[in-house]
Amino acid sequence: MSTPTTAPDAETLADRLRHRGANADAAFRVVVFGAAGLVLLALLGMVVFVLVQAWPAISHYGFFSFVSSDRWAPSDATPTATHPNPYGIVQFIYGTAITSLIGMVIAVPVSIAVALFITDVAIPWLRRPLSYLVDLLAAIPSVVYGFWGIFALIPALSPIVNHIASALAGVPGLNVVFGGPFFGVSYFTAGVVLAIMVLPIVTALCREVFATAPVDEKEAALALGMTRWEMLRTAVLPRSLSGIWGAAILGLGRALGETIAVTMVIGNSVLGINHSIFSEGATMASVIANEFTEATEPFHRSSLFVVAFWLLIIALIVNIAGKLVIRRIRGDLA
């Protein structure tokens, strides 16, 4: 490759071949690094081009006016009026936060239990089939979960939710958060669907974390006479805590951006924040999916890009945080 070149007439066949190989090698390198660079370009391009499309609305209404109002009323928009901003998005940020929170509150404990069962309790030959089955939950498409949510989940949830709402009706505070009436489509329904959808990824990550607990420590715990649960509690769970956090954050990142299933079961009420988790609402992703192709009012589509921009920023922060936590743990293990 870096052999000193001799006079051209002295170049042997072997030299020529080696030369050609070196050129091809360099070209190959450029191609594969070019492909790798596309990933960075795509990520950067997303931020830039979403912002470019959002810019007309941002420059017209002001950057912060979107995140200081919870009133989304495209029909009030005119080409000239700049105040008040008819495209407030706080209720969508709230909707994304509350549905994801409900999803995680359900999914994380369940995932921990399922992962513990698979790694340490199940009969060894059952472990692989069980983890395949849990992974299958991730294979079911979002649109199918949404459809199933409307026709199977909501009728099943209704009696439970109505029972909770009426039981808490007299409790101050709780009667607001868990207040009726329940029409089926709600933040809560969306949260339950999200829990099912993020469960496989959180379980898979937890399983990975639990599997790295040192066998000798587990055996030592058992040798001291501990029961299996005490062994799990002292030799597996404490050292897995940061890994569970990482799994939960990555699950949260998935839940934040989930679109179609949520759009189908949340009710798409855009007019403000509803305080009861049993009432209708909208998330950042759902409002984009629901209104994008019919966005005809002035600055309507551009404002949806503002929503997309904030969603992208939040998703980036959450995912990078989750990755850093997971990466640090993997680094510790190595």
Binding site: G21, D25, F28, R29, V32, F33, A35, A36, G37, L38, V39, L40, A42, L43, G45, M46, F49, V50, V110, A113, V114, F117, A122, L133, V134, L136, L137, A139, P141, S142, V143, V144, Y145, F147, A152, I196, L224, G225, T227, R228, W229, E230, R254, G257, E258, T259, I260, A289, F292, T293, L304, F305, A308, L311, A315, L316, N319, I320, G322, K323
Partner: protein, 295 residues
């Protein structure tokens, strides 16, 4: 600390302590098993419900006909969506697989600081909401050339790309260094080694990853709303025109109030689940053969 194992070592409290610890252990084991069972029950509930509803409307004509002009009528099918899914996902695969494998080669075979950055970016890209990916393709493509199946393919390619890179990189890392060294010792260049030695021995594993990425793309709906748009009534095979997919047709028909449309959507959901499950299970089988051949 009430259940501390040391407590039971103190004389006198031994029997009661052990009994209580055993009960706790039993109770926790049962709890974990119950949670596991509930999770599997939810999976069964979804699959059985969709199969039950879907079989009512699934028929040969569902796969060969387009929906009737009047959504209230029964009959007809999602042939246009099925064809659209195959075209859009097919193009997305053709775009994302070569780029993804090439990028994985850069990450694993060459490495370095830039490669580490890309590796991190790949992990971040996996977590980007697919609706934002759709908005991005809308911004760079649809604003100029309009809604089209091709735009949908670009969006899905971007969804698949990080999945293909991650799966391929993982497989390339499993290729033993001895193979690379043997090839280098024969005077073979790095490029030739990668193409003729490393990639062929990782093919089966990469195929698994690609199939899982295809399965994921098949089920995507959100980015297609903003790019391929859909064409519920007519068969569209030209990628520069708006095109429906199975997932878009399920979404459109599920949210109408017509029983007949919903019936078709259930049949579509069953078809989609079957396609995705077959891909996923086939990928698993190939992947398993790879790992057992290795050990």
């Amino acid at each position: 600390m009430a259940t501390s194992p040391l407590r039971s070592l103190q004389p006198g409290s031994e029997d009661r302590g052990i009994a209580r610890r055993r009960v706790t252990n039993r109770a926790m084991t049962v709890l974990l098993a119950v949670v596991m069972a509930i999770t599997l029950a939810v999976l069964a509930w979804v699959l059985i419900y969709v199969a039950d509803q879907g079989l009512k409307a699934l028929s040969p004509q569902f796969l060969t006909q387009t929906p009737p002009g009047n959504p209230a009528l029964t009959g007809g099918g999602f042939a246009n969506g099925i064809v659209g899914s195959l075209i859009i996902v097919g193009i997305a695969t053709v775009i994302s697989v070569p780029i993804g494998i090439a990028a994985a080669v850069a990450l694993v075979e060459y490495g370095g600081r830039f490669a580490d950055t890309v590796s991190f970016a790949t992990d971040v890209l996996v977590g980007i909401p697919s609706i934002v990916t759709g908005a991005f393709i809308y911004a760079i493509w649809v604003t100029r050339f309009g809604y089209s199946g091709l735009a949908g393919s670009f969006a899905l390619a971007l969804v698949m790309l990080p999945l293909v890179i991650r799966a391929s990189a993982e497989m390339l890392r499993l290729v033993p260094d001895v193979l690379r060294e043997a090839s280098a010792a024969l005077g073979v260049t790095r490029a030739r080694t990668t193409l003729s030695v490393v990639l062929p021995s990782a093919t089966a594993g990469i195929t698994t990853g690609v199939m899982l990425a295809v399965a994921r793309a098949m089920g995507e709906t959100a980015p297609l709303l903003l790019t391929a748009l859909g064409d519920d009534e007519f068969m569209q095979t030209h990628p520069t025109a708006p095109m429906s997919t199975l997932s878009l047709q399920i979404f459109d028909n599920a949210v109408t109030g017509f029983k007949a449309s919903q019936g078709r959507a259930w049949a579509g959901a069953l078809t989609l689940i079957l396609i995705v499950l077959i891909l996923t299970i086939a990928a698993r089988i190939i992947g398993r053969r790879v790992s057992s051949a290795r050990s």
